[in-house]
């Protein structure tokens, strides 16, 4: 079974429990936390033949993850002042996109991979989404995953 692009089903459920903190909103206190800081997120790569990640992924898994020179298990941190652009909406669509491109620098990954799992490293590595692409290998080089425009049509995550 192949890796499949999806918003992770568990993430949809967890949104209703406000488990993931993409931005820095001001909220009404339930107990004591009124000004939460954004969570930290990471991105991990998965081998094309593994079929390890998709809609059913609930947390980061090392099963099927790539390995190679200068690649650390668990992948790389999303970067920026906060990892995601402050969630926004337009029309009936809510959306957000990582602040910066995801870059794996000077790695050698000889086994073909075709998916990246984005997960919340602050909240127990809970899965957010899986994004697939054509199989790639990298040799003493850099893999750059360029983020789309952050709007209601193109953002990396959209909910309508």
């Amino acid at each position: 079974m192949a890796n499949t692009q999806a918003m992770c089903t568990s993430f949809k459920k967890e949104l209703m429990n406000a488990i993931h903190q993409f931005g820095a909103p001001t909220i009404t206190s339930r107990t004591s936390l009124t000004a939460p800081t954004p969570d930290s997120f990471k991105a991990a790569l998965y081998e094309a033949t593994a079929g390890a990640v998709g809609a059913g992924t609930t947390v980061y898994t090392s099963s099927g993850e790539v390995s190679g020179t200068n690649y650390s298990a668990g992948g790389v941190d999303l970067t920026g002042a906060q990892d995601w652009i402050e969630p926004s909406s337009s029309g009936t669509t809510g959306f957000s996109t990582p602040t910066a491109n995801i870059v794996f620098t000077n790695v050698t990954l000889t086994t073909a991979f075709d998916a990246v799992l984005i997960y919340n490293s602050t909240q127990g590595t809970k899965a957010v989404s899986v994004h697939t692409f054509g199989s790639q290998t990298i040799t003493a080089g850099t893999l750059t995953l360029t983020m789309p425009a952050n709007d209601a049509t193109n953002a990396l995550i959209r909910i309508a």
Binding site: T139, A140, T146, P148
Partner: protein
């Protein structure tokens, strides 16, 4: 200079190959450098086009 499996090398010493994959799902460009038939560098740049989208639904009371 190009980072390779044999250390940094002058680009003029290497055979450069490039490619593009452009479809509804992604635009990916890649570059390879070869030395005497051996792949010594490969980088890729993936731009996502079709991203994850979730359609919400609400229940009604008129069942």
């Amino acid at each position: 200079m190009i980072t390779t499996t044999k250390g940094d090398m002058d680009e003029s010493l290497l055979d450069k190959r490039e490619g593009v994959v452009d479809n509804d799902h992604e635009r990916t460009t890649w570059v390879e450098y070869w030395l005497d038939g051996e792949l010594v560098h490969r980088s890729a740049h993936v731009t996502f086009k079709r991203n994850v989208f979730s359609q919400t639904a609400i229940g009604g009371f008129n069942g």
